[in-house]
């Protein structure tokens, strides 16, 4: 195609806003990839999420701005990034935007030379934030991008060529980070923050080229005032759809007529006004769902339409309610057990064994001290035993214990099977010290196998782990990396002392299907007929299997 291409040589406030939006969207598309660049084989990184939330906060500041001056937009971005900075990478990113915006003071529309100066100031500001900068991080990438931009402005004033050059430089810089930071090289990854910054810049370029960012650019913003979360109204017949239309009437609106017309179409009518804009809310039957939109279109310009299928939403909620847990009620004076559980199925099993409260959490989503504390405070008794069921949750449990006046004991259960084994010893009417000792003893009577998929290649404990392979952990120690989940199961079973153990209980996670599970179980039964085998849906994320061996 031989279309005439218009060269862009300067960026005003509105174009910059679009670039930032594109950077944000492209980062969002690649968020998981950035998250996966963490240094351990079990997925627990959140750099991508942190950078995304920081950029989102920055973009929120300018989202509705019609400002033409790039300096104003840049300052708003810097402000938003600062206030919304999340995590280490977010703080560095906010400093980058802060420096960037400072260089644009009083500039209405930036040329590539201004752009380059801004990148240089961004680098300087970012480096000022730390006494001893660690190279091989987002800082290095910012530095390399800045030097590259200084080179390219000597050759072109075309924004696309400029961006192409610096994006390329960012890519090279990111690829080089393992050479500068040994920990990255050991883990076989590039720096996650640097990669995130690269995606933002690449988003700019993709936008200019009109390439897809794989996310819808049109985004529905939920009308907060009208969404009232928990208390959902009963749906009466003829209220299948909720339709909300924001519009600006061409002529002053006659509210009486407007209401009268809407009443013909549906119910639950609400109209709000502000600044010459109107928001109309109505519930209509399915066949009428487009009527209110067509109708308001005749009255003026529609700026936003929001439509929701209430029936579907209601069904969803009912389905959720069915998934409620039946926790055992506790009386004052009894011992209550608080359990940290990573999946719904496991929570149900814990509940059936007598857990008084469940806190959602596990390897990749550690619950906060507040959540745990909250569960303590909500129980009507002051004798509590908590089962963290993961080493990473010990600390939060300890902080929660210190923060409450109740008598809390923390059971050092590192795995789910240890927690389950301990639960079997619970007697809510007993003496807490005695029961606690018994539960502690029970922990040692079970072996734990865990199977997950490696998110990258790495060598740990002399085991050579390849990305995408199944890895087997026996009592939390990495023992093998194998091509299939099934062979990982067998690796674990090889470690089991056959004279001591006779029962296998397998909890399968949300990342594996029932069919796959059945196939694997059949093979285990064939090879180990001496075991009594039980299977439950654990519902835990990331871990295909958690195995209790008693």
């Amino acid at each position: 195609m031989n279309q005439e291409v218009k060269t862009i040589t300067s960026v005003d406030g509105q174009l910059f806003k679009q670039l930032i939006e594109a950077g944000l969207n492209w980062l969002r598309t690649n968020q998981q990839l950035v998250n996966s660049l963490n240094v351990f084989p079990v997925p627990d990184g959140d750099t991508g999420t942190n950078m995304l939330l920081t950029m989102q906060a920055a973009y929120n500041e300018i989202q509705n701005s019609g400002e033409k001056k790039v300096s104003k937009i840049a300052h708003a971005i810097a402000q938003g990034a600062l206030m919304g900075a999340r995590g280490n990478s977010g703080v560095i990113l906010s400093q980058i935007w802060r420096g960037f915006s400072r260089a644009l003071d009083n500039i209405d529309s930036m040329s590539v030379i201004d752009f380059s100066n801004a990148l240089s100031e961004a680098k300087t500001t970012a480096y000022k934030g730390v006494v001893r900068p660690v190279e091989g991080t987002i800082l290095t990438v910012a530095k390399d991008v800045s030097s590259a931009s200084a080179e390219i402005i000597k050759e072109t004033d075309d924004l696309e060529k400029f961006l192409e050059y610096i994006v390329n430089a960012a890519d090279v810089s990111v690829q080089n980070t393992p050479e500068l930071l040994p920990i990255l090289k050991q883990a076989g990854v590039v720096d996650s923050g640097g990669k995130g910054f690269f995606f933002i810049l690449e988003g700019f370029l993709k936008f200019l080229r009109g390439e897809s960012l794989e996310t819808a650019t049109a985004k529905l913003v939920q009308p907060i005032a009208l969404m009232n979360g928990d208390d959902m109204e009963e749906i009466e017949p003829g209220q299948d759809y909720e339709v909300i239309v924001d519009f600006r009437p061409t002529n002053p609106l006659n509210l009486d007529n407007f209401y009268a017309d809407l009443t013909e179409m549906g119910t639950s009518i609400q109209v709000g006004e502000g600044d010459g804009m109107y928001r109309m809310h109505i519930h209509v039957p399915t066949e009428n769902r487009y009527l209110p939109i067509d109708y308001t279109m005749k009255l003026g310009t529609i700026t936003k339409v929001y439509m929701e299928n209430l029936i579907d939403q209601m069904e969803q909620k009912e389905a959720d309610q069915q998934k409620q847990l039946n926790l055992i009620p506790v009386e004052p004076g009894q011992i209550a057990v608080v359990v940290v559980s990573p999946g719904f199925g496991l929570s149900q099993i814990f509940a059936s064994l007598g857990a008084a409260a469940i806190v959602q959490g596990g390897q990749t989503m550690n619950p906060s001290t507040e959540e745990i504390l909250h569960s303590f405070e909500n129980l009507p008794t002051d004798k509590i035993i908590i089962l963290p069921n993961n080493k990473n949750i010990f600390l939060a449990s300890k902080s929660a214990k210190e923060a409450t006046v109740k008598h809390v004991e923390i059971l050092p259960s590192k795995t789910i099977p240890q927690g389950l084994s301990a639960m079997l010893r619970l007697d809510p009417f007993g003496e807490i010290d005695e029961i606690f000792e018994e539960m502690k003893e029970a922990i040692t009577e079970v072996d734990t196998g865990e199977i997950t998929v490696a998110t990258r290649s790495v060598e740990i404990n002399g085991v050579n782990v390849k990305e995408g392979e199944a890895i087997a952990l026996f009592n939390s120690e990495l023992i093998a990396s194998t091509p299939s989940i099934e062979s990982a199961c067998f690796e674990i079973l090889k470690r089991v002392d056959m004279n001591e153990r006779e029962r296998l209980t397998l909890f399968y996670g949300s990342d594996i299907t029932k069919q796959e599970v059945n196939l694997i179980i059949d093979h285990i039964r064939e090879k180990y007929p001496q075991f009594e085998i039980e299977i439950h849906e654990g519902g835990q994320p990331h871990y295909q299997f958690i195995i209790a061996i008693e």
């Binding site: 280490n88 703080v91 006494v131």
Partner: protein, 118 residues
């Protein structure tokens, strides 16, 4: 003094060694532009000799390590996040290099440095 038992004998790690590691990892943390003297006496001592453990206080009660950091933060950064990341960084480095669990890292923001005004 912290003792690590070992079949070959015992290893003793001094407070000072732990402080040095904490100090080094603190200044590598983003947003931290310096450590501050924790009291007047240290301030004077610091003006005479350069101390690699300045701004760090290590307590050890026989079971757990508690570290206090007195830091100076760059103005214009989100201080809460800087404090969180320096605390994580120090904990991780101390635990990883010495192998003793760190119970608490308390971060005291002693001052902000303004290097540019917006």
């Amino acid at each position: 003094m912290k003792e690590i038992k070992n079949p070959m004998g015992n290893v003793y790690v001094s407070h000072r060694a732990i402080s040095t590691i904490a100090h080094q990892s603190a200044i590598e943390s983003y947003g931290v532009v310096g450590l501050a003297a924790k009291n007047f006496a240290e301030g004077i001592a610091q003006s005479i000799v350069k101390d690699p453990t300045m701004g760090v206080d290590v307590k050890y009660d026989g079971q757990c390590i508690e570290i206090d950091l007195y830091i100076i933060v760059e103005y214009g950064t989100r201080i809460k996040m800087v404090a969180e990341s320096v605390s994580n960084n120090v904990r991780y480095r101390v635990e990883k290099t010495i192998g003793i669990p760190v119970d608490k890292v308390n971060v005291h923001i002693r001052a902000l440095r303004i290097s540019d005004t917006d």
